[in-house]
Symmetry: C2
Subunit: 360 residues, 2 copies
């Protein structure tokens, strides 16, 4: 594996105008990231008048920061096709362009996902042979995090795309954690080889036979995602999106129940006061901002999507993740593994007929 | 709507031998259900020698209880097709047969789901026009419960099946809660009409145009399931199974974190002691046994599947739910609504081409 790059030699672009919270939050996020150890140079992209204040901001004042002016802002509800035509003067377009020009090693944006994906595809192209970018989620588990993909970009997929997701997710997890052979599983309705539909069984066959270097553990179920035994969970964008939002809804509901229990009466409040430190660590574990920032995988450059409503701490997480990824040759790894697996997959026998086997 | 039946006039069959915990747990579950208000007569099906003890058991002694002997037991890992051929002497077969013969109004089994479904289809047949039974889950929400279906029986579905699930789920929820017009939603990757795939958009069109009596609210997302605004969430068995298990995994992980916070140190333990009553109510909310017991919907008779590992309190929940459902004419409601909607659906225009629109 190639060595990591020196982080100080990198520049990260920040689309500072997109997102629900505006440029002030983006600047605050940059400041927080520096406080938390970010070493890369920053390129803030947006309205010069708004961003000038950043240069005198506490942590940014002593850090290498450049500003590139861009007048336009892509609205959060802009249609991707329209954004492509009408928003070439936007901070989003210019920030992605800095990656294309080799001026920056990656970009973070809190903007409209569809527009970001469309602009990134047009400017950075896809890695050869990848159909469409995949969106991944960093998913809390009992002992760390798993990467789950796709979580929304690809509603209908074929077996080859699931194989692509597996390869991209594996490289992404390796870049994030340094783990050499992450455990990769295919999300299904049962663990037995016969479960699920033809699509998913064919993807399993291809991964098993054409990518022997991968630590592919076969089918996994919904409850395994947070179980801690799998590093990369592969699924189509329909199922992945619903699983992710279902988990978020469940966490929110239980969080509300816990809060209710902690504040139900005076005794409970007194009890909660005593447990303050351990509750704080619970709150940290349940805080979604720590997992904010996911690369759009499959693009020919590094584009990290931050949640539209992310606050400074979420933006800081996304920036630090982007810096780690930019320092790692994971995009090259993806391209070379894809080529290798695709060649070998040509001789793999898969099922022709479509058939399905139920969960029970 | 037809009036409910007098519960004392009903008999419920209990497949007392299937399930991981054996007949003693089933008897304990019956006892607990009687303590909690069950009025129906019970028909315990299984080995007479084992079940005789039930007649002298505390709550069962004063309750109308019959025993029907059946020698065989369907193993939890028995293949459905093999169970159909080889296990005609089993408690499961005999318990379902009591429904077929009109001797009981419904059956509860903790047994092997595949075998239960196969035996029930063969003996009770499907409601006219229903493809396959659907398995539903009772899902905790911020303000009660939602019904989610299918959660595993039908890995691949067509638009007509999603419409069936909606109609069956609506009638089931109405029978459970008395709510006249439950809110029904179709699980998708976004709320806009254009999201998702052709299958799901066609199901929405049919529901909107052919079932104007239904309170169909359109597309809902994963986080809406526990949000409290929807009563019936309709999805295919692949997505539903994964969503359900993902939610279970998330709840288990957060439960472990909460426990950790409550026992982290002496101060936390002292705090937890003070909050005991409110923690107890939290534990009740998170206890899966209260939602145990789901009817296999679409069959020509009432068959309620209890979790294989259910303990007495879970079995009691399933029994009480079966009694409520047996008292309610919901199977007739399903049949008549299906007929009506199917006639009207013939003139509904749906999309021919397949196409999909992503989440973002």
């Amino acid at each position: 594996m190639a060595a990591e790059l020196d982080r100080k030699s990198l520049t990260i672009a920040v689309d500072a105008m997109s997102g629900d919270k505006g440029f002030a939050e983006a600047i605050e996020g940059c400041s927080l990231a520096i406080e938390q150890g970010l070493q890369a140079r920053l390129l803030l992209v947006g309205r010069e008048d708004d961003l000038q204040s950043a240069t005198s901001h506490k942590n940014l004042a002593g850090h290498p920061v450049d500003i590139v002016h861009a007048d336009g802002i892509v609205a959060m509800d802009e249609k991707p096709a329209r954004a492509l035509r009408r928003c070439r003067d936007s901070s989003m377009w210019a920030a992605i362009n800095s990656v294309k020009q080799g001026q920056t090693a990656g970009v973070v944006s809190c903007g409209n996902t569809g527009a970001l994906m469309a602009m990134a595809r047009l400017q950075l192209r896809m890695i050869e042979g990848v159909h469409r970018p995949a969106v991944s989620a960093l998913w809390p588990t009992v002992n760390g995090h798993a990467v789950v993909l796709d979580v929304g970009a690809n509603v209908e997929v074929d077996a080859e795309q699931l194989v692509e997701f597996a390869i991209m997710g594996e490289a992404y997890f390796r870049a994030l954690t340094g783990k050499d052979r992450p455990a990769v599983g295919l999300l299904n309705v049962g663990e037995e080889d016969l479960k699920g539909n033809t699509l998913i069984r064919n993807a399993a066959t291809i991964l098993r036979e054409a990518d022997p270097e991968m630590n592919f553990i076969g089918f996994v179920e919904g409850n395994d995602i947070s179980g801690g035994g799998i590093d990369v969970v592969v699924t189509d964008g329909f199922t992945g999106n619903i699983a992710l939002k279902t988990a978020e809804g469940t966490a929110r509901m239980i969080g509300a129940w816990v809060k209710e229990a902690l504040t139900a009466n005076l005794m409970a409040k007194a009890g909660a006061a005593l447990m303050m430190p351990s509750l704080k660590s619970l709150r940290t574990k349940m805080d979604p901002s720590s997992v904010n920032g996911a690369p759009l995988l499959g693009l020919g450059g590094l584009v990290v999507k931050s949640h539209g409503g992310a606050e400074a701490n979420g933006i800081a997480s996304a920036l630090l993740r982007t810096e780690s990824l930019a320092a790692h040759p994971f995009l090259d790894e993806i391209a070379s593994t894809l080529t290798k697996v695709r060649e070998r997959a040509e001789s793999v026998q898969v099922e022709d007929e479509t058939s399905s086997v139920a969960a029970e």
